[in-house]
Every structure is written in C-alpha cells, then in structure tokens.
Symmetry: D3
Subunit: 238 residues, 6 copies
C-alpha cells in the first residue's frame, strides 16, 4: 500500500515537470501545489507519502501561548506522529502572514526521518531551516507565531494545499519547480510513464544541445529520430 523503495527511488530521478505531463495525460490538471518554493536549492527530489495537517483561522480566546502545553495540540501531534519517509503537508489556506511552523519543529521532523515538509503559508526561522539540508517548501518566510492567524484543527484528513487536492497517502514529489501530488492509486503507472519520458527527454536535451532542431524530434514525428533514440538508449543501458 505504501510507496515501495523502488518507486521512491525512481521518483527521485524524474522531475515534477515530467510528472505533471504524465498526470495531464490522465486528465489530472491541478496536482501542482501552486506558489511554493524550497527554502534551499534542492540537492535531490523530496519523495514521500502525504501526511496532512489542516489549519483554520485562529480565534483569539482559544489561542493563548499556553495551548502548546497540550500534547494533543494537532500541530505538535503532527510533528511527532508524521511517519518517517512521509511528507507533512499543511493546509495554511495560502496565508503566509503568520508562520505554519518554525525551526525547532522542522528539525524534529528531520530527526524523526520524515521526508519533507510543505506549507502553502510560510515558515519562521527560515534561515535556520534553509541550513538544515532538509526538504522544506513554503510560500515565503513568516516570523509571527502560527497562533496569530492559524489554528491547527485536523490531522491526516484530505486538504487543499496551494489549490491542489491532497489526500493522506498520496505521493508528494518536490524539486526546484515546486511540489506535485500523485494520487496514491496511480503512482506506479505515473512513475513508469515519467521514467520513460525522462529517458526520451534526456536524449532530446542532448540532441538539442548538440544543435538539432526540435521539429521532428520533440515530439519525434520524424521516425528516424526514434531509431537514433533506440540506439542511444541501448548504448546507455536505460
């Protein structure tokens, strides 16, 4: 049911751009979390199952600083319960005027082996988080404590994040272009398709760098290009 190590590894080697094309071919057009950015340039893709946290607007009377003393506070529980290998995805209603989380909680996620964290709001302590070498994506830095505007209310329910639908267990992939959500049920086929497309795109990219024009090559409407590709592929064992 969960992501196999093989698929996880394959997903690390395909881009969110290629994945979005594979999803598009199946009629899925809104799987990209819009307008989120990695806090530091990704060295490799972030891959993991979605574990979600839902925020709603905060109400002043139920958000004194002391709320965090309660172990059942959903933000704190999410940080301790998000499974290793998963990605914590936060629905912050695209509101970055207050933080979704800060350096300590993100560090805890990293230490626990979580694969990454995403919010459509913002993180505080952004320089510290950027320095962790941990996959973290947000809209922009935001210093104010989350309870200024956000009330954590639900763990691991279906949410929206950056206008994309995110169901618990969906597969989350992030790279320099941002973060995409692959429905759990089609991850194998999408991955296979994306891996194939990537091989061809690598070939095309090499040819284009070498001076070949795109007509007939991308897409390969000129059949001779398919032959060259077959040879290229064989040679590289891909």
């Amino acid at each position: 049911m969960s992501l196999s190590p093989e698929t996880r590894e394959k997903l690390r080697r395909v881009s969110t751009a290629t994945l979005s094309s594979a999803l598009y071919k199946r009629g899925l057009r809104n799987q990209m979390i819009q307008d989120v950015y990695p806090l530091s340039p990704p060295k490799e893709s972030m891959v993991g199952e979605a574990y979600t946290l839902r925020y709603m607007p905060a109400r002043e009377d139920i958000n004194p600083m002391s709320v965090f003393r309660d172990h059942s506070h959903p933000q704190r529980r999410a940080v301790e319960e998000c499974p290793p290998g998963a990605v914590l995805v936060m629905d912050s209603r695209k509101d970055a005027r207050a933080a979704s989380a800060g350096g300590i909680l993100v560090t805890r996620l990293m230490v626990r082996g979580v694969a990454g964290v995403v919010t459509d709001g913002g993180f505080r302590d952004s320089a510290d988080i950027a320095g962790l070498g941990f996959a973290a994506y947000h809209h922009r830095p935001s210093a104010p404590t989350n309870i200024t505007l956000h009330q954590a209310i639900d763990i691991n329910v279906p949410i929206g994040c950056g206008d994309a639908p995110v169901y618990p267990g969906d597969i989350v992939v992030g790279d320099a272009d941002g973060v995409i959500i692959i429905p759990a049920g089609i991850v194998e086929e999408i991955t296979a398709d994306a891996v194939e497309m990537t091989v061809f795109e690598d070939f095309v990219q090499e040819r284009v760098r070498g001076g070949q024009k795109t007509f007939g090559l991308y897409p390969p409407t000129d059949e001779s290009n398919l032959e060259v590709f077959a040879a290229w592929r064989k040679e590289r064992g891909r």
Copy 2:
C-alpha cells in the same frame, strides 16, 4: 445549548456592526466573514446556529457528474441534514470560480426551514436564489458546477469562511453589511451587550439627525447626555 427563541429574536434587532464592536471589546477581531454579500437586500437579519460544509479542491478522476447519485455525498447530505433554524456555512476556500451550490439546493434548504446559507465562494442560479426571499450570502455569482473546482469533503467540522473561524454551533448573524460569527459560549452576553449598545446608538442617531454634534455625545463624555438618554429611554420603554 442551542439558541433560545429570545436570543434569536434579540439578534434579529441588532446589527453586525454593533455585534462586531461587542466582540471587539472581548478581544475578538476576526469574526466577520470577509467579502460576502447578500444575494438580495435583506429584509431582516439572518440568525441561526452554524452547520458547516467543508470543500477541498476537486480532483478530476473522482468527480464525474455521477458523484451526486451517492446519497452520502457531503454536499447533498448537508442540504438534507442541516437543522431547521440553523445556517449552512460553506468553506469554499474563497474560490468563486465554480459554484458552491445552486437554486435547487438552496430552495430545498429554504423549504426545510433552514435559516440561511453562506459561502465564501459563489452560487449559481443567482437570480433564482435572489428571488426566493431566503437569506443567502456569497462572494459573487458563479455558474460552473461545483465539482469543477470543489470537492465536498466534511460535514459540521470547524472551518474557515472568508478568513473567519466557524465552529459548528457558533451563532451566525447576517445583515446588509455581511455575516458575523459569535462563539457559541458567549452569545448571551454578546447579545445583551449589543442590545444595550443599540438602544444608545438609536438615541445618538436620533440626536445627530436632529443636529446635535457628536463630541460629548458619542461616546457620551458629556454627562448631561446620559441624563437626556435616560429620559429618552424611559419614554420609549426600552
């Protein structure tokens, strides 16, 4: 626990403006649902307990037109289950590019004795709804069927609507200025305060129309105004 007929009646006679001042005095500053409008000029205030529906972004593969054949579809269940006297409040993530509901469902709510309906998105069949004489508030008309962008996912959970926090059972009041949310636990005191403030504001409004200046009157820093007010009030039995 639910709204008493007396409180309901009192709330009909105070404005959302006055209620927002009463809430402000208790430190609650974000209880107004921002940027929603009545579909027709309200003849009287809408008052009721909040019953909520949460939408998330739609995913194409799970939203064929046939989804509505399922009686457990949350949008349809909400319409049949929202209690008479309550207000159905929808979290449409402030996205009015597709409808939150249309004329038939809003008519059903009206026939069932529901007190009103609010979305921070938009309604389709807006002219029909405007003609019903039923309290309905949205951001703007929106013809596209809700499943174009919205997936109903939860019934009667805490939500955000127009950036305000809405908990099931909170009291919802709407007038020409928009819609405000009163936390359930303080509705009696807020109502009492708002009723008192309204008596004084009515007095001030009458005096100002009669030509009195606001200094000393509003607020009544000139004590003599309080005496005049006392007499005015007695005379009117308020």
Copy 3:
C-alpha cells in the same frame, strides 16, 4: 455555420449554469468568463456569435486623443463592423482601471442590432449604459478613457476574456450569473442537452418547492421519480 434562429431561441431559455454543466460533461471546464457582471439585471439572456476585440497595454506616445480620428482604429472599427446578432467580446486583460468603451459606442452597438457587449475590464458612462436596456457585461464601472491603459490592436482574433478562451464565432450566452462561451462546433449538441436538462431541473425545482427531498430526485436515482417526471412532462408538452 452561424447560429440558427431556433438554436438562438433555445439558448435564451437555458441558464449559463445549465450550459456549464453540459460543457463540463464534455470535459470543458473553463468556458465561463470569470468575474463579469451585467450593468443592469438581464430581462432575458444575451445570445450571439462572438466577435472579438483585443486590447494590449497602451503606450503614451502613440495614444494622443487624436487616434480616434482614424477610421481604422480597431476599437471604432469593431463598433461599426461587429455583425448584428453577434456579441462584441473585448479582451481588456482583466484591467478595469481604464474604460473598455463608453455610452456612445455601446449605444451605437445597440442601434446596429448587435446582441450584446462584454469586457473583462470596465465601461464608462455605466449608468447611461445600464439605462439602455442593452445586454452589457463588465467587471466594474471605469471612467478613465480607454487609451489611458488600453490600446485596441486586433479585431476578431482568438482572445482570452476573464480567463476563458474565446474564438470568433463561438456562441456567447449571458444571464445574471455571467457569460459563458460555447465552442461553435458543438453548439447544437450542447443546446439540445441543456434544453433537456432544463426541463428536468424545472420539474425538480417544482417538486422541491412542493416539499420533496432531493435524495433520489436530484439526480433521479429513485426510478419512481422518473415516472412522475414523464407524466409531468407529458402534461406540459415539453
């Protein structure tokens, strides 16, 4: 090739909401011109073939007031050349800070028998236009002369209007919910489908007003409702 009188008449009796559902069933999700409003409450639907005008951002040196002395100025040509029965649709890049057109030009369109005018910007002389009894849709009133920000550049090319694609000859339908674009090639089938859906929706609306619950009726998963509908329909000759 152009809209038949029969189809035109049928389209006047179906709503943009129903049309959007018919388009959705064929995979078309973005045909609604977003965020435009009629300048006066529509008495009947606006229906016509799209005739387009494209604006680009204005450049100060080529937009003295005297530009309008040139008969080939695209804005003025569009007003004189848009065919009777067609709808003039303007791509104003969703920028209502300057006008797309004003009272005189819209009056000329009306006198010439044009079916309506739509901009995703704004009209000046909005009260005059509202008083014409002519179908006009915009985002909001805007007094500044169009050359302040807009340069008319092309007539009858494919455009975007309110984020919807509009090709010359597409069918434009407007009502209180806004304006929808039907691709020319499928107008017959979409109209037929929408007319059928409207008959059923009228039946449902009547039943719901009469107190019937929506489960089993809308959609008609309870077969008995289909029998009642058949009888209802026969009786009304629809």
Copy 4:
C-alpha cells in the same frame, strides 16, 4: 480660492468620464479613485473640495474602545471639522476588512452640510447610509469597528485614496462611475473643457441613437457634422 457656486453647478452636470478625458488631455492619468462605489445610485453628482483623513494600521495597545472619548481623535475631529460643501476623503489603504466610519458619523456629516464622503475602505451600517440620500462612496460594506485595523492619524494632509493622489482643496466629483480628483489649480479650465465636451457628446449621443454611424461623427472628422452640431447647439441654446 474655493470652488465658486458656478463651477460647482457646472461640475454637477458633467460626468467623471468626461472629466477624466479633460484631465487626460493635460497629461493627468491617475486622478480616478479606483474601485469605489456609491452606496446608493447617485441622483446627482457629488461635488466639493477635498478634506482629508489619513488612516494608518492600528496597534492594539493604543486602540481600546475608549479612544473615542478624546475629542481630538482625528476621525471624530474630521467629522466635526470637515467644512460644509467639502467632501471628506479617507485614505484607508484600500483595506476594507474594517470600517472607515459608520452610520452615525456619516449622518453627522450630512447634517453639517458636507457634500459627501469617500473611503477606499468600507463603511459599516451600509444599509442605513444608503438610505440617507447622502453621497457616500466606498469599496464594500464592512462591519468591524475601524480601530480593529485602522488608526486615524492625520487630518487634511495630502493622501492617496484608491491609488489617486488627493491634496486638500482638490475638487472631488462623484457619479455612478466613481470618484475623480481635479487638482485645485486647474478646476476652472477642466470644468470649462468638460462642459464643452458634454455638449458635443450629448449631440453625438442623440445622433447615434437616431442611427448615425460614429465614423466622421465621433470625433467629428467629417466637417459636415460640425455644421449640424452648430445648428443643433444654437437651437438648444447651449
């Protein structure tokens, strides 16, 4: 120095659209207050000298409800000191999430003979204000008390309102299209130009309604139209 009764009267009979064209001809392109609306359909134009109020963001510790007990509070002073015949223009930083003023203060302005009130935020008690028959323009209704977000800080200083520059003493004109600011120093010439343009536009509008095409008429590049206009004008004594 102030607006003469004659100019005031003339300005009542020209539109903001025509005034914006007259200003455009003098190189002034940003004098329209963007995105404000009259609370009720204007029966006649609002005309007056600008008297300004500047809001800044509120700070919680200096905005208890009791601030209004101070007669020197700039919002309250502005309401009592704005001269009869002037228009009170408020810089609310285009933030309508809290009110700029409410029914009592607007009533006081009306009773004092002020010509109108404009904010690029919102008014509370909007239905009451709409019922006054007083010229009031805002972005949208807003119930929360102004101190929730706004701190009145300055009276009669140069401000921005809806992205337009407003200097105290500038002339403010409002109609159904919105509100325009005429620099005080050029009001006579702008008015004279607008009055002339209006005569011609009325002529054109009449001709267009009668079926004449716009080419050669608007603008009058066909000289014969100027002769017809001269006769038309003479006949009407304009």
Copy 5:
C-alpha cells in the same frame, strides 16, 4: 529615550520570530512588516530606531525630473537626515511598480552610518544594493524612477509599512524572516523576554537535534526538562 547600546546588541542576537512571540504575549499581533525581503542574505540582524518617509501616489504635473533639484524634497532630505544608527522605513503603499529609491541613495545612507533601509515597495539598482553589504529590505526589485508612481510627502510621521504600524522612534529589527517593529515604550521588556526565550530555544534546538521528542520539552511541561535546562544554562553561563 533612544536605543541603548546594550539593548541594540541584545536585539542583534534574537530573531524576529522570537520577538514576534514576545509581542504576541502582550497582545501585539500586527508588528511584522509583511512581504518584504532582504536584498542579500543578512549576516547579522538589522537594528535601529525607525525614521520614516511617507509616499503618496504621484501626480504627473508636479513630478518632472527636476523636482530632485529641490533640497527640501522629502526623499532626498530623508536620506541626508535619517540619523546614524536609525533605520529609514518607507511607506510605499505596497506598490513596487516604481522604485522607492536606488543605489546612490542607499549608498549614501550606508556611508552616513544609517543602520538599514526598508520599503514595502521596491528598490532599483538592486544588484548594486545587494553588493553593498548594507541592510536593505524591499518587496521586489523595481527599475522605474520613484516619481513614476510615488510622491515623497512627509518625513518622520507615523506610517504603515507592509500593513504594520510604524511610529518614529519605534525599534526596527530585521533578519532573514523579514522586519518587525517594536513599540519604543516596551523595547526593554520585549528584548529581555526575547533574550530569555532565545536561551531556552537554543537549548530546545540542541536537544531536538540530539533526538529528544518535543512533547514535554517544547513547551517544558515535563518538569525534568527544566532541570536539565537549568544545568545546561549554568554550564554555558547564559
């Protein structure tokens, strides 16, 4: 009255995130200047008293290039008069479509010993400014000369910047998360609180990196953690 060297030094060692929490505890929720970014990664925090410049929308007739010949032009005066050690904070009405200032003026501020510069608009010559090693925060780069859209109008008055209230003399602190405003009257207590919180957060961060879970530690509801903290603190002499 002004910032003591000790407090200034302490503020350099606490984060805007921690300061925002300290302000939140005192009921101040809107002190963060929203959506501004350092032009280069800050090596240390920016700290200084606020000295302000207010822009209003520009009017074309009073903004020829020659305006800057006047030594009393507020933008130029602000650059020459902002005290060493202070931070120049500009209210550009969140409009970055034209520059708030450029490389030469920012260099002058640096040479004069000013502590930093902040605008909620944009700077031109952004690469030059980024290379100065001077604390500068804006929304985004913006090449057009400021008089395209901005008219400098007031020096050292209370302003809004990025939706935060800024009073002259308030303390401004900036780091990678952005810029926060501390009311002058409470800077000592806020600083003291933030320093204390920082010691504890450093401890927590170290423990979390070492593998300790956050429950009971952050906040320290498990008393044993307080003992460990006491020892940790003693050891480090903090």
Copy 6:
C-alpha cells in the same frame, strides 16, 4: 532597422533603472515588464529585438498532448524562428499556474543564438534553465505543461507582457532589476541619453562612496560638482 552592434554593446553597459529614467523623460512610464525575475543572477545585461509569442487561455478539446506534433504549432515555431540576437517575449497573461516553456525549448533558443527569453508566466525545468547561463526571465517556476492553461496562438504580433506594451522589433533589455522595453524608433536617443546618465551616475556613486553628500551633487545643482565631474570624466576618457 535592426539594432546596430554599437547600440547593442552600449545597452549592455547601462541599467534598466537608467533606461527607465530616460524613457520617463520622454513621457513613457509603463515600459517595465512588471514582476519578472532572472532565473539566475545575470552576469551581463540581456539585449535584443523583441520577437513575440501570444498565449490565450487553453481549451481542453483542442489541447491533447499530440498538438505538438504539428510543426506549425506557434510555440514550437516561435522557438525555431525567433531570430538569433532577438529576445523571445511571451504574453502568458501573467498566469504562472502552468509553464510557458521548459528546459528543452529554452536550450534550443540558446543554441540558436537567441539573446534571451521572457515570460510573464513561469518556466518549468527551472533549475536546468538556471544552469544554462542563458538569459531567461519569468515570474516563478511552474511545472505543469503549458497546454494545461495556455494556448499559443500568434507569433510576432504586438502583445502585453507584465503590463508593458511590446511591439515586435522593440528593444528588450534585462538585468537584475528586470526587463524593460524600448520602442524601436527611439532606441538610439534613449541609449545615448542612458550612456550619458550612466557616466554621471558612476561619478556620483564614487563620490557618495567617498563621503560626499547628495545635496548639490545628485542632481548637480551645485555647479562646482559639474567641474569636478568634467575633470573626472576626462581622466577616465568617458
């Protein structure tokens, strides 16, 4: 008619800030493409004649993945036909929710000797493009394939890009501040003016770094500064 090598070279040594001032002096205020950013820090300015591509909103039925098999597809033709030395400028209606182009096409542009590429939307494969050392400007990264939302419709027509007017053949200059459009007809005079201004600004910058105050120097109202400048200039042979 096209850009001379001398002018091209001169334009590489002046900033978009200085160019915007030169344009402002001629009354051109909207030539900056708003809100676009280089994908990697520019080492030198991008300079070239504009070659344009216009996108409109995509329609699902005419955008299967197979559209790219057609050599006449405008996006693909633009990539193969944009002249060497020119800049491909794309009107993506400021919508970055889907890509304007990706790594392969941008590489092809680079290999073909095109001078740069600009979109007011976003590029996919943004890290790859950033690594090319090729001048590319966009609003933000965007992974989804362009046909998700964009339909390429026209090549080399006048367009809007980031609210600026762009005519084919206009001169495009980009640096760290963004991208500016110089009307083709005035490029020589604008360049000459900007070169002159740059010499003076370099002088001023050096003086300011050396401690001179800006009054009298910038602008040089103190004549003695002009003498020093003359000497400085002679010495450097500029």
